[in-house]
């Protein structure tokens, strides 16, 4: 039964235009699709191909290309395989449609991505902050936000030079690996 569905799915997806399908293993399929065709593809997968479980929505920040890549992972209990649908949206307005009417858990993931990346999902029920409620700065997961520089500017560290370290340094030793060299 699952083999038939897989064959059927491969044939169907290869027939649709503007969709790039790559089967990574027997349980993983990667689909790259245009941003305006994604909701229709998800509806097709949910209704006709038994992919009823939304596992996650993740976001990747491609700064040089000026795009956000949104990845929708959907799982099927019948075929026991995962389809990852990748789509790219332009970084500048950073607005996309919400798929809350298709999958209810999407509201939660979209709220998280809005908080961390700044992408606005139209039609999502709740766009309030819930993790970074004390945070007033830019969306922190964007690549142009330098966390270390922010920390060095805002917080003060303790100057830690204990006696045992000073004794070692007097004898000629000391710390050999500085943190800056390791990164």
């Amino acid at each position: 039964m699952s083999k038939e569905l897989n064959l059927w799915l491969d044939k169907l997806l290869n027939d649709i235009e503007n969709v790039k399908v790559e089967r990574k293993s027997s349980r993983r399929i990667r689909i790259d699709v245009e941003s305006d065709a994604l909701p229709a593809l998800l509806e097709l997968l949910q209704g006709h191909a038994s992919y009823v479980h939304l596992s996650a929505i993740s976001c990747v920040d491609w700064v040089d290309a000026g795009e956000f890549e949104l990845v929708y992972h959907v799982w099927s209990y019948e075929t026991r395989s995962l389809v990852s649908a990748h789509t790219r949206i332009p970084r500048e307005p950073g607005i996309y449609l919400s798929i809350y009417d298709l999958y209810e858990p999407a509201g939660f993931f979209e709220r998280d991505i809005h908080e961390m990346f700044g992408v606005y999902f139209e039609g999502s029920p709740d766009m309030e902050k819930f993790i970074l409620t004390e945070w007033n700065g830019p969306p922190p997961m964007r690549k142009e936000f330098d966390s270390e520089a922010f920390v060095n500017q805002t917080f003060e560290f303790e100057d830690y030079r204990p006696q045992w370290l000073q004794d070692i340094e007097e004898e000629g030793g000391g710390i050999t690996t500085r943190p800056e060299d390791v990164r």
């Binding site: 004390e134 945070w135 922190p140 966390s147 920390v151 917080f155 003060e156 303790e158």
Partner: protein, 243 residues
């Protein structure tokens, strides 16, 4: 009498003149008794922040029994003496820690377990954690590690017990003495309208712990933005009107 006794007597006389010690040598018997009992019966607050909390159940259960030192967990801050800050302190958690700390009755002790409370630890580059805990709360003992083993935790607690028995663990008074400094650091993180339900300045006045560092520019800001507290609105399920 020996030379040590002479030196001790001279020191005590000097301290009596400075007003630090009482002249009756028997006056300290009661204080010593109470300090001894405080050190042998510590109630820790069963609210352990962060990931280091996983080292506390092993310290409480049968292998490294903490109850033989007199330490038992209590659930509300009103009953607890020790506030254990285990692990990293995110800004969200720090607000709740300060609220909890101010609700505890004195004398109270703060122990910073794990390296993240010392100087940032593993998450030092994060935009959402507080780096040095003692800028926001007075800390008595630090136990470094990531995580420290239960033996290390118990050794740190024994250090605290020694400090309490000798009367050195007075960091709760530091909060009242230097409230302006701590409030300034807290306002830098939480904004200028940060206020807690506990009125620290009134408490400091009541218990005679006010110094010239208690009030300052930050407490003036607090006074400017202070709103009276309102009770939470309570409503039964399905009702439109609040109770």
């Amino acid at each position: 009498m020996s030379k040590d006794d002479l030196i001790l007597r001279k020191e005590r006389q000097l301290q009596v003149e400075l007003g630090q010690q009482r002249s009756n040598p028997l006056a300290h018997v009661f204080d010593n008794l109470v300090n001894f009992c405080r050190s042998r019966s510590l109630f820790m607050l069963h609210y352990c922040t962060g990931c280091g909390a996983i080292e506390l159940p092993p310290a409480m259960t049968s292998r490294f029994d903490m109850e033989r030192l007199g330490i038992q967990p209590m659930v509300t801050p009103r009953q607890a003496d020790i506030l254990l800050i285990t692990g990293y302190v995110s800004i969200k958690t720090l607000k709740r820690i300060i609220l909890t700390y101010e609700q505890m009755p004195a004398p109270k002790y703060v122990i910073g377990i794990c390296s993240c409370t010392v100087n940032g630890g593993m998450y030092w580059q994060s935009y959402a954690t507080a780096k040095v805990l003692k800028h926001y709360l007075p800390v008595d003992v630090y136990i470094a590690g990531c995580m420290p083993r239960p033996e290390a935790v118990i050794e740190g607690l024994q250090d605290l017990m020694e400090d309490i028995k000798s009367g050195r663990a007075n960091s709760w008074k530091k909060y009242f003495h230097n409230y302006d400094y701590y409030l300034g650091n807290q306002q830098q993180l939480f904004g200028e309208d940060w206020q807690t339900p506990t009125d620290i300045i009134a408490e400091a006045r009541h218990y005679d712990l006010l110094t010239e560092q208690t009030l300052g520019e930050h407490t003036a800001l607090l006074e400017k933005h202070q709103k009276p507290l309102e009770a939470l609105e309570m409503r039964l399920q399905g009702q439109k009107q609040p109770l």
